[in-house]
Amino acid sequence: MLTTILNWSEVWAPLIPLYVFIFKRPKDKFLEIVAGYLLTALCINAVIDVSWILNSSMPALLKNNNFLYNINSICRIIFFTFLFRNAIKLFKKKYLNFFLIAYLVFFSFYFVYNKNFNTLNSLLHSTESLSLLIFSIIYFIRLINSDKVFLAFDPYLLIIAGLAIYESVNFFVFLFYQYLLIHNPKFAHYLWNVPNIIFIIFCLLISKAFYGRFNFKT
């Protein structure tokens, strides 16, 4: 039962923040970037999980769903780089544009020449994790060094905290996942629960970010 819940967490977890987003309609327009990511992740993860369950009756293209994980990773880096570029303004826009273009060009060439887009690519995932983790760490270090005090509710603080936790834990999972799938698939299967659990936490933090400050009646 718990395994089923965890296996399907990639699908049901994004529904929570998406529901809050529709219900609360946060005023900050840049939060739409996060909502956009969640919607994309929901669609991709739904296809992944459905194709995994109905593997035998699926069309040939969806029998191996690993490429969808790769697409999910690319989407994640695109959406969150946009968030760091437009909402958080971590660096100058041109630097983040350059980073994104370099990332996409590099992996386009990488996949064109390696032709292994149908496997869950550790290099792609760990690069994504490391890049977003570095952005998140820079964001927090800047906040620590600045004089700014967060008296008002800041949704980005929660989103980036969630992203940092998600990427920090997933970095090692993604880095060795391809290796483990070959050498110890049982452990790899168990290990996949870790990203699932962290993804739930990430989605809950995003939900809180969308919801805003709790108003307790006294």
Partner: protein, 262 residues
């Protein structure tokens, strides 16, 4: 060490690293918040000290002017009156009307100078206390048939801090002055009450009143030194002032914590 164990240690280490970073951020926020609070309280303290110094120097200046008016101008006017009487005795009663008018004007001037001097001086406060000073002041501004001023003051109040009493007295003086000058009121009623360590003065009048928003606006626009003085003294008293306007009656409520008066 197996690769599986290395992965688990790696995941744990990364997780701890991020949690430490988040905790460091939280700690830095708390420290910054505490620092800002201290800074704010220091600024407030400095501002209060400045206001206190300004109020004190204003009071000293009032005192000086009051004494000079009383001792110098008052004495000069009394001497002039004496000389005028002597002149009248010496040169007869040919122009009696002019003499009478001059004497009348001189008397009025002496009376005015004494009245201004007493208003500026806070001696009565020291001697008789706040309630007596307010009653004496309201009696002076009362004009039969034109302005009726009624007071109902709580006798339970006993003065504990002379400087704060002066501030309350000056605020009431300024408010009554404004009600007469700008509000053109025909009747004013001042009541005071002590409850739960709060001394509350309520001024009701039938003139043109202000709303709280209008008071704040006038104060921020810097129109009128009087309103600024009122606000400064209220900050010193750690009190609150509230203006209410209604069709028939306007109310000004002044709340002063009694502990602040200690």
């Amino acid at each position: 060490m197996s690769i599986e164990l290395s992965i688990i240690i790696g995941i744990g280490a990364m997780f701890l690293l991020i949690i430490s970073l988040l905790l460091a951020f939280n700690l830095s926020q708390r420290k910054k918040f505490q620092y800002n609070q201290n800074l704010l309280s220091l600024k407030e303290q400095q501002q209060n000290e400045l206001i206190k110094a300004a109020v004190r120097s204003e009071e000293t200046e009032r005192h000086r002017i009051s004494e000079e008016l009383h001792d110098e101008v008052g004495a000069l006017l009394s001497a002039t009156k004496l000389y005028l009487s002597n002149l009248h005795d010496k040169y007869g009663h040919e122009d009696n009307e002019i003499y009478k008018k001059s004497l009348e004007l001189l008397d009025e001037s002496i009376h005015k100078v004494r009245s201004i001097s007493h208003n500026l001086h806070s001696g009565i406060l020291k001697e008789l206390g706040l309630n007596e000073a307010i009653q004496s002041f309201t009696q002076k501004i009362s004009q039969h048939g034109r302005l009726e001023v009624v007071t109902e003051l709580d006798e339970k109040y006993s003065s504990k801090n002379h400087e704060n009493d002066i501030s309350i007295y000056r605020v009431l003086q300024e408010l009554c002055g404004n009600i007469i000058k700008h509000g053109h009121a025909k009747s004013i009623k001042i009541t005071s009450r002590i409850k739960d360590n709060i001394l509350t003065f309520t001024i009701k009048h039938n003139g043109k009143g202000l709303t709280q928003e209008e008071f704040e606006k006038l104060r921020y626009e810097g129109k009128g030194l009087g309103l600024k003085n009122i606000q400064n003294r209220i900050i010193l008293l750690k009190g609150k002032i509230n203006f209410e306007r209604s069709e028939h009656e306007n109310t000004i409520t002044l709340n002063v914590p009694v502990n602040a008066l200690l």
